[in-house]
Amino acid sequence: MANISTRFFGLDLQSPIIAGSSSMTGHAEQVLKLAEAGAGAVVLKSIFEEEIFAELQEELSMRSGLNSDPEYLDYFDYVIKEDTLRKYLKLISEVKAKTTVPIVASINCVSSSEWTLFARKIEEAGADALELNMFITPSDPAKSNDSSENFYLETIQKVLHVVKIPVTVKISHYFSNLAGMVQKLAATGVAGIVVFNRFYNPDVDIESESVVVADVLSTSHDYLLPLKWTGILSGIVDVDLAGTSGIHTSETAIKFLLAGASAVQIASVIYPSGASVITKMNREISDWMDKKGYKTIDEFKGKLSQKTSSAQAWERTQFMKYFGEKAFK
């Protein structure tokens, strides 16, 4: 039986299948189920600074009838954040006490002071690593590329300055020079980069003519964009990569490993299939490796990356002759 252990988050993982951050990983019981099913690591549900703000708004709205002293309303600025953090830190220590599988905390903040504050507390609570779930919506035309990019880099540096646990970063593909940016991120000293963040998306209902919430879960075809960039980036940056979005089968997971990822993060597929999908994927990866004669993941990791295969295969973006030669009804 092949050895499917790998390394990501600067940690040795028993499997390349990581349970990614999702609503499931916000509950101790489910985190433990995922760990028992054989996950290489479990990334806890992200703490979102924006979520804390939304809760604050809800509380303030409820308080209007009570004529609360505004001094007391100020107090909620602090207490809601503290309460959210306290629950999160409790989750970390609770699951850490019950499993040896690495537990990774995940945070998404707006300001760099909050990123560093949360990071310190998370380290104190005993998390094995920290994933920075970073994203600034590039929708402000007045903001320069540099200011956004510098925010990422400076925030990471500040976090790295205050914690000793490994720090990884989960990013989106919204950068004008993605490869250049990933290289800069790698140079900060992060222990890995996850491509790409999956976002809440709006959709349009044409009957009610309103903006609605799009399907939240990924489909099994969503993996192509992160796979492409794993192939391109793994050849040019010196940092561990993990792919995520649309990875529903062991076959897709193997594609990422071949493209150069050290691991993959899965979430959507666990909702319908349960934690056992991790056990199944682990077994199928091992079977495939046996069939191919690979004893370790390192033997084939990055075998098809841009560095070792055709650059054009990964970088081609136009269909050219492909559709031109296809017939239609």
Binding site: E58, N67, D69, P70, E71, Y72, L73, D74, V110, K121
Partner: protein, 494 residues
């Protein structure tokens, strides 16, 4: 005491009021300027922790100000008063020169007029709904100053009136905590003939009025006079007594107490949870003010003096922050600073307190938020890092939301930091009663109209219900709870 429309109308139509209205034409009344409070000189007053800043009005000033009041047929000012003081009645008594009657009118519905006249945010309550403010866009009648005048006059006259008390009905009830909500509750219940005992955990009666509000704003002797009034009416006070620890509710029930009013306040200090907050020299406003106000910590002759900083930063923008920073100034701070993350416009403190603080040389560093503290080799704070904030869109409280300005961090040398970012409800009572329904923030849940909790014989009000309330709102809760507990007990005894 009833405050319904018919009663108010009858009072207004009494001969003396009608005559008084005729004496001065409304045009003449409205042409008068609002009186200015007499104040102690800022340079002089900062030398004393226990000398009051506001000196009160003279009788002439008070009568002139009272004459501005139009004695409206529909006194909208009363809508802004949580304890429904008959405002036109007491104001007109002042105009008529019958100051003792004015004080008596105040005591019909308020157990603490001298206190309210000093610490109520009148600009947000009665004065905000005064005819002058609402219809004429002019400075309102100085209701707060007049309230203080009447209460002070009565006290200094030596002719303190004691409100009438109904014959005893023999029903024992308890109030837990001795702050404004409890005192107001006790005042109403004793008038109705109940056997009222107020239990206080600290060694002094008065709750936040004593431990929280410095003497330069509310002298303890003023509070004591009001407490003595309640004692004379028959209210019993037991201090150094923690209900839920010293004895249980069951013990009190066994002693014959039939109902309880919990007003145990919000005395659990909060911190920001930022790095370095545990260094020496960083303390909560609760600790700082309680030690200075109640434990003589400002005096070096006592065993546990408080730290006297030269560069003192107070974090927060409410009245507690103002009280702390002004106390620090009086204790010798060369640089006493308010550090608040929102702008001046969003500061929750009373306008008068901010104005007084400014006069006293307090430095306001607005739109700034502490993010870390640093210490010397002995672990004593010597520097704080602050980040600049901007203002975003208004949040659900209507105030603009503070937003971090990245890269704007700067350091301020400090040797004393007082954190005044709010307090949590006192957890003692909720933890002693498993059947008591509490919110996720630890406040006791009560019916909005009745103040009755999930335990029928237990009513609650003030900060333990609201989380944070002004003195007068807490007093309003006490009155509402008294009315409903009375109804509950009467139906039980029928």
């Amino acid at each position: 005491m009833s405050t319904n429309k018919e009663y108010l109308q009858n009072e207004r139509e009494k001969e003396w009021r009608v005559e008084l209205r005729k004496k001065i034409a409304n045009k003449e009344r409205t042409a008068k300027e609002r009186v200015r409070m007499n104040e102690m000189d800022p340079f002089e007053r900062i030398k004393y922790q226990n000398r009051e800043v506001n000196l009160g009005l003279t009788a002439e000033q008070a009568q002139a100000e009272a004459a501005r009041c139009l004695d409206c047929p529909n006194p909208t000012c009363m809508e802004g008063c949580p304890v429904s003081i008959n405002i036109p009645k007491f104001v007109k008594y002042i105009e008529a020169g019958q100051f003792l009657d004015a004080a008596k009118a105040l005591k019909e519905t308020s157990a603490l007029p001298a206190v309210c006249g000093r610490v109520c945010p009148q600009e947000k309550q009665c004065e905000s709904t005064c005819f002058y403010t609402q219809k004429m866009k002019k400075d309102p009648v100085a209701i707060g100053y007049l309230e203080r005048f009447a209460a002070d006059y009565e006290r200094e006259s030596g002719f303190m009136s004691i409100p009438e008390v109904a014959p005893s009905n023999g029903i024992k009830i308890a109030a837990i905590g001795s702050g404004p909500a409890s005192l107001s509750f006790a005042g109403d219940m004793i008038k109705l003939g109940y056997d009222v005992t107020v239990f206080e955990a600290l060694h002094e009666i008065g709750g936040v009025l004593k431990y929280g509000i410095p003497e330069f704003r509310l002298p303890n002797k003023i509070v004591d006079v009001e407490l003595n009034n309640l004692k004379k009416m028959g209210v019993k006070f037991v201090n150094n007594f923690i209900v839920g620890k010293t004895v249980s509710f069951d013990d009190l029930k066994a002693e014959g107490f039939e109902a309880f009013f919990v007003a145990s306040g919000a005395g659990l200090p909060r911190f920001m949870g930022i790095p370095g907050e545990n260094y020496n020299g960083i303390l909560s406003s609760n600790e700082y003010l309680t030690r200075v106000n109640l434990m003589n910590a400002a005096s070096d002759e006592f065993d546990t003096p408080v730290i006297r900083g030269k560069n003192v930063a107070v974090i927060g923008g409410g009245n507690t922050a103002m009280d702390s920073v002004r106390t620090a100034k009086r204790l010798g701070a060369e640089r006493a600073m308010i550090i608040y993350r929102r702008s001046r416009a969003e500061m929750p403190a009373r306008v008068e307190e901010v104005h007084h603080a400014e006069e006293e040389g307090i430095e306001f560093i607005n739109l700034a938020n502490p993010i870390e503290y640093f210490a010397d080799e002995k672990g004593k704070v010597n520097r704080m890092r602050v980040q600049r904030m901007g203002l975003g869109e208004p949040d659900a409280s209507g105030r603009r939301r503070p937003i971090v300005l990245e890269g704007s961090d700067f350091d301020i040398p400090v040797d004393l930091v007082i954190v005044a970012v709010g307090v949590s409800p006192n957890p003692l009572i909720p933890s002693a009663l498993s059947d008591l329904k509490v919110s996720k923030w630890g406040t006791i849940e009560v019916g909005e109209e009745t103040m009755q909790s999930s335990i029928p014989q237990l009513f609650a009000g003030g900060d333990i219900v609201r989380g944070g309330a002004t003195v007068i709102l807490a007093m309003g809760d006490g009155r509402k709870a008294a009315e409903n507990m009375h109804e509950y007990l009467q139906s039980k005894h029928q």
